[in-house]
Subunit: 153 residues, 2 copies
DNA sequence: TCATTTTATGTGTATATGCTCCTATTATTA
DNA sequence: TAATAATAGGAGCATATACACATAAAATGA
């Protein structure tokens, strides 16, 4: 046994068994598929998510939206920038509380979202078919528990 | 039913059922836990991963390492920069093939890795305990299948 | 051998991520 | 009510991510 492999055993577990690494790797992998599918719209995976979330939540503040996305508040602010620049969302000062900033989907935002929806549906169905509905359902549940772990902090 | 919610139904599935969104959200959440744990070492989650991978693979080229990590080659090149700057890895031109660049762990890299290992172990065990070993095992398997989906491209 | 192709890598650009420190506004309390 | 605390948000900084394009070197083929 040479010097290189003498203590390798120690590092096989953090290499292969690390929950963080595996989830991050999977995030990179799955993002490839969705971004490939959304490319005709010019939307990134995150951007599609933000538009959908804004659509579902209606007019919403930065912090509330960030909580729902388990995303840092400052990250969300910056992620909104490209969408605002393209005119898909509008950010206005809160009327009741002037500290707040209210995010709203514009008409252009609704249009791009409508265009993106069938593309999302296609790749989503493709992924569900490849993985199998049972595995997807199970995976989503298990990931939800993982997410709650961080939310509990 | 007002105008706002009239077609909301369409967007509940992409909001709650999107595999990409859920995995990415989970990646953000779990990364918080591991980076919090690794903070005393000054290593980010990705950096710890890169050091471990380099340790396990021994001297390795950028492209081969990128394949193993399911990470874009150019992403890996840039991710290596902070580690190189801190002296944890060394990148040298390939001796046989001068196009290649060989990544090696330095002594300082081995030291920081040794220091980080128990911190990783603690947070990993904590996560496994919180999620339950069964769920973790299942989750890792399901995520592996997801990763293979992108590798098949 | 020399032209062509393939391979390994880097750069420019844009977005994604979150921590620390800062300001403005609202809420609380002495 | 005035001082203080709490809250919402932004800016600076560093890292993470990957596509398009460019370069250098090795492999291939006529």
């Amino acid at each position: 046994m040479n010097n290189k492999s003498s203590h390798l055993r120690k590092y096989l577990e953090p290499a292969q068994g690390c929950v963080c690494f595996t989830i991050r790797k999977s995030a990179r992998a799955i993002t490839q598929l969705y971004e490939e599918a959304l490319r005709p719209t010019g939307l990134r995976a995150t951007q599609f998510t933000l538009l959908v979330a804004t659509r579902v939540m209606g007019t919403v503040t930065i912090s509330n939206l960030a909580k729902g996305l388990v995303m840092d508040r400052t990250t969300l602010t910056r992620n909104m920038k490209p969408l605002e620049k393209k005119g898909f969302i509008r950010i206005l000062p809160g009327r009741e509380d002037r500290r707040e900033r209210e995010v709203t989907l514009t008409l252009a935002g609704q249009k791009i979202l409508s265009a993106a929806l069938p593309l999302w549906k296609t790749v989503q169905q493709s992924v569900v078919e490849s993985l199998g509905q049972n595995r997807v359902t199970r995976l989503m549940k298990d990931l939800s528990v993982t997410i709650q772990l961080a939310e509990a902090e």
